[in-house]
Symmetry: none
């Protein structure tokens, strides 16, 4: 029996609320060069006091040694197995979610690049000289104006991204994501046609061929961005919603669009509280009565890790510490504080290292951990779990799972 089958069988209503607070990229490293992690260095009296009356443990995001992106990292925290094809978030969908573009179940999204081709149509720069974001916005405006009728007819929408990146969304009947990438990933050759990889995608491919040709014509007078490349055609993963899986109504409070998008893909209602932790807690407080499960996302930890700035990461953790009492005052039955992955400052990137986990609830075993750090969490009663086992623990501590068998 799969975990989802088991939980669907055992789920039961209970009055308490579950709060999952994700400090993005929370986990960090002790090394010879960085003998204390940001969690070690941060002054976090509220988190430490909470740790002393909670259960600690660690989460492995996907599998030992596997570094996860933000999408799969969050899917795992929400109880999905990101390693199954059903939970695969395509590149196009990820870009769309990151630009806060709402996607319906049947819409298809692709990641676009502005590129440069020569007179024979051969690629000379796959990123159009890495144009500025403002230039990208100008080009998208130009396409929207010159191709207004075509885009309307074909059900195609264009959205600027960062630098040379844009997002293409196809909406309408009979759309299929089974389209091969047009980016040949090399120079000196023309872009590929958008070939259908299944019979169902033939008409979608035709729409895209017409669009690519029209875009080429519309951009003919551009020096650098005179062509478009498309890849990662994809639809929202058809995930069973969390309401169905766990019997929970779920709200997401995240200042960045990607996390709202992933939350929506899991059936949550998503809110944008802005980027400060206090505002995130305030927004959750405003919607406290509407949900059984509230996911709060804090991005600053990950950004500091990516910047290789352990001091900034410690301050981002301290920001959460300052706001923690207000979150506790809301009275969650279960509060879990963890990360979607580690982003160690010395690595300036996501990593595979386990992430500390704090679980507070009246039925949480108060273990011998007294502070909230990576190494203290190693000694915690929750042990080291896969992220996708966290939801079972949250439901269990909230009294939302019946006994299996008699």
């Amino acid at each position: 029996m799969s975990t989802h089958e088991l939980l669907a069988r055992l789920k039961q209503p209970a009055p308490g609320k579950i709060v999952l607070l994700v400090l993005d990229g929370l986990g960090d490293l002790r090394t010879a060069e960085q003998p204390a992690t940001p969690l070690d260095r941060a002054t976090i009296p509220n988190l430490d006091a909470l740790a002393a009356r909670s259960s600690l443990g660690r989460l492995i995001p996907l599998a030992p040694g596997i570094t996860t992106g933000s999408g799969p990292g969050h899917l795992a925290l929400f109880g999905y197995d990101p390693l199954t094809p059903e939970a695969d978030i395509g590149r196009g969908v990820l870009e769309a979610l990151g630009e806060d573009i709402e996607l319906g179940r049947d819409d298809v999204a692709a990641r676009g690049n502005f590129a440069t081709v020569d007179a024979e149509g051969r690629l000379t720069d796959r990123r159009a000289g890495r144009i500025e974001t403002s230039e990208c916005e100008r080009l998208i405006d130009k396409l929207r104006q010159k191709l207004a009728a075509e885009l309307e007819d074909e059900g195609i929408e264009l959205y600027p991204g960062e630098g040379h990146r844009f997002v293409l969304v196809l909406r309408g009947e009979g759309i299929s994501p089974a389209i091969a990438d047009t980016d040949p990933q090399e120079l000196g050759v023309p872009p590929f046609d958008p070939e259908p990889t299944s019979e169902a995608a033939v008409s979608t491919a035709d729409k895209l061929k017409r669009f690519i040709a029209a875009a080429g014509d519309a951009l003919e007078d551009e020096e650098r961005a005179n062509a478009v490349l498309l890849r990662g055609f994809s639809q929202l993963p058809a995930l069973p919603p969390m309401s169905e899986l766990y019997g929970l109504s779920c709200g997401a409070f995240a200042g960045y669009p990607l996390y709202r998008g992933v939350a929506r893909a899991c059936g949550m209602t998503a809110f944008n509280p802005g980027k400060s932790f206090r505002d995130t807690v305030q927004d959750a407080a405003n919607h406290w009565e509407d949900f059984d499960f509230l996911f709060l996302h804090h991005k600053a930890t990950d950004k500091a890790g990516e910047d290789g700035d352990p001091e900034a990461k410690a301050r981002a953790i301290e920001e959460v510490d300052h706001g923690l009492p207000e979150l506790l005052d809301l009275g969650p039955e279960v509060l879990a504080i963890t990360g979607d992955h580690s982003t160690p400052a010395p690595m300036k990137a996501h990593s595979f290292h386990p992430v500390p986990l704090l679980l507070h609830s009246p039925t949480a075993f108060v273990d011998e951990c007294r502070v909230f750090t990576e190494s203290e969490a190693t000694r915690g009663t929750l042990g080291t779990l896969l992220s996708r086992d966290l939801m079972s623990l949250l439901l269990a501590h909230c009294g939302r799972l019946k006994k299996f068998g008699a």
Copy 2:
């Protein structure tokens, strides 16, 4: 390769004996209100001394966050995966085992309720006013007498249970458990007929229809218990016996029938030593030479946990401590002491929390744990395992598993 396939391939004889001592519901909680667990509070010099020269660890009965009933909890300790359909113990079988009714592989058991119906046959009380056990015994006697010939002809046996509950057992040729519940789980409607859910169950369903009608007639003059409801039709799970899986002859020593029943379902020979731990050890001593594997069950810990009485639970653990030297004197090669699940006194119920495990053997790594408590076990060398992985460890420490590969 499944664990069972692996063990079947690697098993080898060895002279030593394995003792598995289950303190039912052993695990408990530290919380703000209960800062010390019964294990923390109990005075257990023998268990602590043993812990100091053993390996400690923890068992997760089924999966993180999943609370198990006693049946699946024990099946897991015996090395079966309770989450597979083959290991499912139906409600009827569980009730029968709990009443010490011997079931053959082909017999079908159902859980019965005495109930009240009105003049039109509609349910007005699914539990017949929660009659006393003595009243239930009187009613079963009445049915046995009035329907003696019918019951004999149909191969039906009736056994009183607690309160309004009874057990129905069908024995004979061509019996099938594929029968839907007759309990509609609501009032104001008549009970369902016992409908066959497969072709093979048609004749069984007919037997049951005749019985239900005859029982209704026989109970016509009763004010409250004038009807019967049947549910949970089931057969013993078809588990491969432990002798075959592990090459062990197995004896069970348990004062409560349910545990003897589950042990028998796994191919063990079961004995009833009564309820004291000393008597349980004495009974095991009397049969010491007959078995390679001896399962000793101690129920009092679970009962105290269910009663929310941590002092009684501590005393139940101390009772085991007093009897431990006699058990050690028998000279088991491997002695494991653990629980089938946690029953924390503050929760007054089974829970999902990991259960401490002590494993003593000449080949057990003597770790840094010095006392036998939940939190000390967190630091143990065995780590945190699924209960169904315990049998491999017991066999291994007993020298009963060959090397895999060369």
